[in-house]
């Protein structure tokens, strides 16, 4: 299916969704995140119909606001549904910069409430 590419801005992350390999990176701090995340939901709904055998979502955010935290949860929920449908093996790689304990904790938070395998990975300097 068609890929979804959205370039990053000062307040919204870069999105790169292709068959099986999804990535969200940068900052996610829009005042109203639904507007931004709606196209991602739509893409995932469609992807769910014809998903690749395995799907990895890589999240590599510098920081995000609480409005986005809800939208990220909804992205994970969509992937959970794809996993449950048996169409794809879904996993999440949550990346954080060394020393960024809040971003590491945020990954652990999602890992606790989302029914998907999470890998929480430190980004090495340089």
């Amino acid at each position: 299916m068609n890929s979804l590419h959205i370039p990053g801005t000062a307040k919204t992350p870069a999105v790169d969704f292709t068959d099986g390999a999804l990535e969200i990176s940068g900052k996610s701090i829009p005042e109203n995140s639904i507007e931004f995340y709606q196209p991602l939901y739509d893409w995932l709904d469609q992807y769910g119909q014809q998903a690749a055998k395995s799907t990895i979502l890589k999240v590599r955010l510098e920081y995000f606001n609480t409005s986005s935290s809800k939208c990220l949860l909804d992205v994970f929920r969509k992937l959970e549904a794809i996993q449950k449908s048996g169409k794809s093996q879904v996993s999440v790689t949550w990346m954080y910069e060394e020393e960024d304990e809040d971003m590491m904790e945020a990954g652990e938070d999602y890992c606790e409430i989302v029914g998907l395998p999470f890998t929480i990975e430190k980004i090495k300097e340089g």
Binding site: A10, K11, S33, D100, I113
Partner: protein, 182 residues
């Protein structure tokens, strides 16, 4: 004319690195976040702290932003009441303080006060549980507010949220919030 040097010295003594009073708009916030980000980039503070300051700054200014929208729509108030202010201070020990001040309807004071008191009474673990429960059950408001701001700020700052309400008249109070990050 005004003694601007006095004002300058006061800002210097109070360790204010950024001050603003007026309408809080999306464009303003975009600029403020960018200014603070580049300032933090060159600051000797550790990455952990810089991230916290950025995160909390976004959260508390967007709180004011969301709240002001509610306010002007809920009640057709005079322009001055729709105005807000904020200060960002950094002391020599790289401790940051963010202060916001905005008008609030008296009818909303009790609710906000009990929300902050509730969050302030929680331990780190309780805040985490409360955050996760709220995250699972919350629906975003039409303006994108998740209702998680106070919990998130308390969690990240690790300090109690300091606040006060100053009643202005029978309809409006001034709400001040101070968050310490170190």
């Amino acid at each position: 004319m005004l003694n601007i040097y006095d004002m300058y010295k006061r800002m210097e003594n109070d360790e204010i690195i950024l001050a603003f009073k007026g309408d809080i708009t999306e464009d303003l916030l975009t600029s403020v976040f960018q200014i603070m980000e580049s300032r933090l980039e060159v600051s000797p503070a550790e990455l952990r702290l810089k991230k916290k300051v950025n995160n909390i700054l976004v959260e508390c200014l967007q709180n004011v932003y969301h709240h002001m929208e509610d306010f002007t729509e809920a009640e057709k108030v005079d322009d001055p009441a729709a105005s807000a202010m904020f200060l960002i201070c950094q002391d020599s020990d790289n401790r940051y303080r963010i202060v916001t001040g905005n008008h609030i309807l008296n009818s909303n004071v009790e609710k906000l006060k009990s929300r902050i008191d509730e969050v302030n009474a929680m331990s780190k673990e309780e805040l985490k549980t409360y955050y996760l429960e709220s995250l699972k059950s919350t629906e975003l408001s039409s303006k994108g507010g998740a209702g998680l701001g106070m919990i998130d700020m308390a969690r990240k700052s690790g300090h109690k949220l300091d606040y006060r309400f100053d009643p202005l008249n029978d309809r409006i109070s001034f709400f001040s919030l101070l968050i310490t990050i170190d």
